[in-house]
């Protein structure tokens, strides 16, 4: 009896000293994100918020124990001009090998970097959910084509093909309401924007729109006057903008100063997504529209969770959700938690199967992955799929104007277009 008590005491002291008896081993989420850019820090903040909420509620139930999430972030630098893709791959590999990440969440964000990262994820069998940036349709096409190799790759936010569908539907609404049908396309010289611009120019023509021109700008461009003059000369009525660089705010200032009679519609327009856009343009960005990809990145009532997330983010970070990666990055953590708990395991192949069976009502609607290509299933109705949001800056606020199912206001034209 005495020996048993002594052994129990020694064991208890040992466990206390090593900490093994007190803290469960965390599940490490490796996040390669460009932390100097909007699409990096908005995702980072959203992931941290979700992790804090989950850990505060006890963590993740796996293998009969409750384990917390731990976030390990590394700057992938993939949105910086002139930085090679290899930088993002180094960050990713360091997260896997040095930080021993169990899962990869967030980035790489630039499409080129995310595509290059796929073989690495496959090599190390790391389940990854990209949550922001990465709009190229090639990502999920590759999963479908080489399922066995790339089955670890998931994307929880909208991609270019669906975004174009949304944008085109919204453009048709604009045409019906205001009669605007001449579209001038301005894109940044990066893979997703170039490809999206090309696709839009083709499908828009099929839907009866006239494409009056297309300009491609290098990353970091600071003067858009000549392109805007071309748009003016060709009597363009809508500017379709695809740019994720901060300098895109300059374009809107120039548009306002020229009083160009074309409605700016940012299909991807990082600067206009941010709450600080109004101040950054001194209000000159009013009437600019921007696709914030998923609901929850601007105030709406898509699902009961939408405003709960919106308010929690605002309270935690002192600013509204900023870019297109907020709600999706937040939901990725919850979706992963759900999958781990259902799989009751961290084994990659079991998590893949569990993620393929995901079906939860999230911040931006019903979240399910297409089991063939691991792309989140989109929809115009939050009850059916992941719903997007197109906002318009009106009187200093981001007003959700599309899709109708979650719209909080109507699209307006600037006074010089009326």
């Amino acid at each position: 009896m005495r020996i048993t008590v002594c052994l129990a005491v020694i064991l208890a002291v040992f466990l206390c000293l090593t900490g093994a008896g007190l803290a469960a081993e965390p599940i490490i989420l490796g996040c390669p994100l460009p932390s100097a850019f909007l699409y990096g820090w908005d995702a980072e903040r959203a992931i941290i918020l979700a992790v804090e909420e989950i850990n505060a509620n006890g963590g993740i139930k796996v293998g009969g124990a409750m384990r917390p999430f731990k976030v390990d972030l590394m700057d992938s630098r993939d949105l910086e001009p002139g930085v090679p893709v290899s930088e993002a791959l180094l960050a990713l590999e360091k997260l896997i090998l040095d930080k021993k990440a169990d899962f990869i969440l967030g980035g790489p964000v630039r499409s080129e970097a995310a595509l290059a990262a796929m073989p690495l994820l496959s090599k190390y069998k790391k389940v990854s959910i990209v949550t922001t940036g990465v709009l190229t349709p090639k990502y999920h096409a590759l999963v479908e084509q080489h399922y066995d190799k790339f089955k670890y790759c998931f994307r929880i936010h909208g991609e270019a093909t669906w975004l174009i569908n949304e944008i085109l539907t919204c453009l048709i609404e604009i045409r019906q309401k205001f009669g605007l049908d001449r579209v001038f396309i301005m894109v940044q010289d990066v893979a997703h924007a170039r490809a999206s611009g090309d696709i839009l120019s083709k499908v828009a023509v099929e839907k009866g729109f006239k494409i009056s021109g297309m300009e491609i700008y290098p990353t970091g461009a600071t003067d858009f006057s000549m392109g805007l003059i071309k748009a003016q000369k060709t009597d363009s009525q809508v500017l379709s903008i695809w740019m994720d660089m901060p300098e895109s705010a300059i374009l809107l200032k120039q548009w306002h100063d020229m009083k160009l009679a074309a409605l700016p519609f940012g299909s991807t327009l990082a600067s206009a997504e941010q709450p600080g856009f109004w101040k950054a343009t001194n209000g000159k960005g009013e009437f600019c529209m921007a696709n914030v990809v998923n609901a929850g990145n601007a105030a709406s009532k898509a699902t009961p969770w939408t405003m709960r997330f919106y308010d929690a983010y605002t309270k935690r970070w002192g600013i509204e959700p900023e870019g297109l990666g907020c709600s999706s990055s937040y939901m990725a953590v919850y979706v992963l938690k759900d999958a781990i708990e259902r799989a009751d395991n961290l084994e990659p192949d079991k998590i893949v199967t569990a993620l393929e069976q995901t079906d939860i009502m999230g911040v931006y609607g019903r979240l399910r992955f297409d089991p063939k290509n691991h792309q989140v299933i989109p929809g115009f109705d939050p009850q059916q799929g992941a719903v997007g949001s197109i906002i318009q800056w009106q009187a200093g606020k981001r007003m959700v104007v599309f899709p109708k199912s979650i719209a909080m206001g109507d699209i307006q034209l600037p006074p010089w277009m009326k």
């Binding site: 006057s225 000549m226 003059i229 941010q274």
Partner: protein, 290 residues
């Protein structure tokens, strides 16, 4: 399209000249390639922004204090770092580039990232020139750039310090024999170069936003202009700014905007292949012949 090419070509050229004048000034006088030039440009913008938004100072006062602070930082860079490596060209480049990196990445590290840092324009509104609308701030850039070039001409031709600076630029040893203090003049050149970088920031940044990355772009453009114009030649820098500025606009109109950045880099390569001394790099040309 001709009127807009003329108008926006001029604006672009003057902007390039503003970017490059400070770099050309420092190199012209002290033969110091100040690779921290772009960083000083961005730093001036952030100083003005901080004074304006955090301390609530008047914009003109913020701009003035920012210019003075940047000039002082330029002096300190020379006094405490560059003076120690003066004459060792590679070390000068490495030291000034390292300082520039430290400034830019320090700004980024301190949280100054994103697209919400902007300076207000001096004049709101735009002017219609024919069918082309031009905002007042861009017209002000042209006026300020022209005034600055005129000021530099008179300063270097009709003031004691200016003449001493030119003396240094022409022949440092001869200037020293005439009693001109080489280090003092190099420090003055650094102060003037930094002032020019800050002035460029005050006039050009209200057109866009203050981002760290601009520091690298400004440096590349300044180097391109100075190489084409002839390193050390202020007149060459102005002429090169117009050549590259109009070439960029013509490229944008007739080829596409994404080739615009190639123009500056192509200009550097072509100049180095065809005429390494640049348009007005007379001293270098002489050295090459020897």
């Amino acid at each position: 399209m001709n009127v807009e090419i003329l108008i926006y070509g001029t604006i672009n050229s003057v902007s390039l000249a503003l970017y490059a004048l400070g770099f050309a000034m420092v190199y012209g006088v002290s033969r110091l390639p100040n690779f921290a030039h772009g960083a000083l440009f961005v730093l001036a913008g952030f100083i003005a922004w901080t004074l304006l938004n955090s301390l609530g100072l008047n914009y003109m006062l913020s701009a003035l204090l920012s210019i003075i602070a940047t000039a002082a930082i330029g002096v300190m860079i020379y006094r405490f770092v560059l003076i120690r490596v003066r004459g060792m060209e590679i070390s000068e480049i490495i030291a000034s580039y390292a300082l520039g990196l430290a400034i830019l990445e320090g700004l980024r590290w301190s949280g100054l990232k994103g697209m919400t840092y902007t300076l207000p324009v001096f004049m709101e509104g735009s002017l219609q020139i024919g069918a082309v609308a031009v905002d007042y701030q861009r017209l002000l850039v042209v006026a300020a750039g022209s005034a600055l070039v005129a000021f530099l001409y008179f300063f270097t031709h009709y003031t004691r310090i200016g003449l001493a600076l030119r003396g240094m630029a022409q022949d440092e040893r001869a200037a020293m024999m005439l009693g001109i203090d080489s280090d003092a003049m190099a420090m003055a050149a650094m102060a003037l170069g930094s002032t020019l970088a800050a002035l460029a920031a005050i006039f050009l940044l209200p057109l866009g936003n203050i981002v760290v990355e601009a520091g690298y772009n400004v440096l590349i453009l300044a180097i391109a202009v100075c190489i084409v114009g002839g390193l050390g030649s202020w007149a060459g820098a102005v002429l090169a700014a117009f050549l590259i500025g109009f070439a960029q606009i013509l490229t944008e109109v007739y080829l596409g905007a994404h080739y615009q950045m190639v123009v500056a880099l192509l200009a550097i390569i072509l100049t180095l292949v065809v005429r390494p001394s640049g348009l007005f790099g007379r001293q270098k040309e002489l050295e090459e012949r020897v």
